[in-house]
Symmetry: C2
Subunit: 334 residues, 2 copies
DNA sequence: ACCGATTATCGAAGCGCTTCGACTGAAGCG
DNA sequence: CGCTTCAGTCGAAGCGCTTCGATAATCGGT
């Protein structure tokens, strides 16, 4: 129950200086003598001063808050989302910014409101689809934004993402190196492709292209997320392609089921079928056997997104697209 | 690229009224004639006016923002966390509030900073442990807060949660009704119990108590989250307790593995072993067979937390503890 | 020892909003 | 019919901060 909040003028009085001097000590925007600085900082500490965010925002026209816009869709793997979110928050704090959480269900209006009311200085928009309704708005919003994911037309926007095409290709190349000749991709549920979700489609494209380039045989299939359907898909696959010996799984919710189904049909991993997953490390590690995988570098994507946004807030120019290179970790499944 | 933001005085000029009149139209705090109201609202629409959040916060001493404090711990199931988060955001928006995301890694300082700088009007703190270091701070913060989860000593705090003890008991009662005499609880990883996580311990207590009351035989075991360890635990369990026919699983990450292990050892569900899970519906539904389950009503918990916080912000008194009653959905596993 | 440049500090003017008190005219009342 | 009452509106005073320009005080250079 601290009483009324301490204001800058109380700090000034306590330190025996002008209000503006306190402000300059705290912001560092003008030279202040070492002696004065110390006295002011002491007073700040003694009184427990915290600048009032609203007043600061009003006077400086900077809220020091960025918006994080999350999707609320089926088929996006939530833990990965959460990794993005926490890395965005952590990164933002390093730039002395806070994060306001906006969810997609308020739609574009939510973005417009937050931006127009100067609640936030900029936006990080997650899980952008190929034809995303928020994109036109972002394009002509006064506030800068950074997208995680690439829309079909990314002109005039700043986007960051893992290079999913490369990730898909990397998996194929790894399997090819291991001597596999016939491979398959089990991807997202079909609804995700239909919706035009960039990362799913791009992974598939990368997979297909790499299959061509390496001279392998391969199919890419969507993959639902319940055990029975996964099991049926696997059964059909094993049946129709007896030469199949390599599997790429790009579906966090289904990897466990895939392994279960293979076990069910008596296929050993990696003896009979090698499996590469595109998923977070913890999932790969707690599977049996631990899976060779390409992880989504959520932490880095979030960090880069914030860094780019901060650069834009400073008025600096930034590259339009940033594609992070995937890395494959070999474990026991290939 | 909307130019400079529209201010209330531009709206006032456009509508031919005083600034204060516009303010009263928008807030409804004084009577305004129907005619004036219409003119003002028209101007607001035409000009695309959005009140400046900082100015509003400064003048009214209300930011209309609440903080959502998320944990960043292992062993908490992330999708459930996310459900909480989105329901908090959605609920807050219905009260015309936004949500600032704070993560636990900033610790208590983060809470203090957000509160002291008047960035937020109140806090919702998720996943509170029995002995949570944030609790003392919350207790004497000027800003109201609501906890999701119960600390050991909840005096002077407002807490909401699912009644996990009841949830554990409910599972046992259901198995007893189905005629099972010997049951087991597979809970969280042991680290979660050691940490003093309320929901894990309370579920176990409820389970144990109900086993006693119904006259069944039962054990409660922690459960790690990788397949091989789950498989070993199940093997040992089946081996040491041949009469075992009912399983309660309170571990979202492990349910899939549990079913896989039972399949591996030739046990049919529910023929040989009945399984009840405490987990979100989507996990229960996409398992094979679909699991009888008690779900964590994340949506309702979040909504209630926000409601309670809003009541406190209005200065109304609220109950200290709110326990939500669990409901069991019968599916194909029992 | 005087001058322009520098350095350190102050005072005051807002930033855009809410809210209080005051004012006006019309309605209600005996 | 003069008086209160009240609905409807206005003007102005802040809210706590940043920032601009001004003012002293200090300094090296000559």
């Amino acid at each position: 129950m601290s009483g009324r909040a301490v204001t800058i003028s109380e700090v000034a009085r306590h330190a025996g200086v002008a209000v503006s001097t306190v402000s300059y000590v705290l912001s560092g925007k003008r030279a202040i003598s070492a002696d004065t600085r110390r006295r002011v900082l002491d007073s700040v500490r003694v009184l427990g001063y915290h600048p009032n965010a609203g007043a600061r925002a009003l006077a400086s026209k900077r809220a020091n808050v960025i918006a994080l816009v999350l999707p609320l869709r089926a088929g996006v793997h939530v833990p990965v989302l959460m990794q993005f979110a926490t890395s965005v928050v952590t990164a933002a704090r390093r730039y002395d910014h806070d994060v306001l959480l906006l969810t997609a269900d308020e739609g574009s209006d939510g973005l417009r409101r937050a931006a127009a009311s100067a609640l936030v200085d900029g936006l990080v928009v997650m899980d952008v689809e190929l034809h995303d309704s928020r994109v036109p708005l972002l394009r002509d919003l006064a506030e800068p934004s950074v997208l995680i994911g690439f829309p079909a037309d990314s002109a005039g926007l700043t986007c960051v993402d893992l290079d999913f095409a490369r990730a898909g290709a990397l998996c194929v190349e790894h399997l090819a190196e291991r001597g596999h000749r016939e491979v398959a991709l089990l991807g997202a549920p079909s609804v995700v492709y239909d919706r035009g979700t960039g990362f799913a489609r791009r992974t598939r494209e990368g997979f297909v292209a790499a299959v061509g380039e390496t001279g392998l045989t391969g199919v890419a299939l969507p993959c639902e997320e319940n055990f029975d359907q996964v099991s049926a898909t696997i059964a059909e696959l094993l049946d129709s392609r007896p030469g199949l010996s390599g599997l790429v799984v790009h579906n966090e919710a289904a990897v466990g089921h895939v392994l279960g189904a293979l076990r069910q049909y008596g296929r050993r991993v990696p003896g009979d079928v090698a499996v590469v997953a595109i998923c977070p490390d913890d999932i790969a590690e707690r599977s049996s056997p631990p899976l060779t995988s390409v992880l989504i570098p959520a932490e880095e994507v979030g960090r880069q997104a914030v860094r780019l946004l901060m650069e834009k807030l400073e008025g600096r120019a930034v590259p339009d697209g940033t594609l992070l290179q995937p890395r494959l970790t070999v474990r026991d499944s290939t």
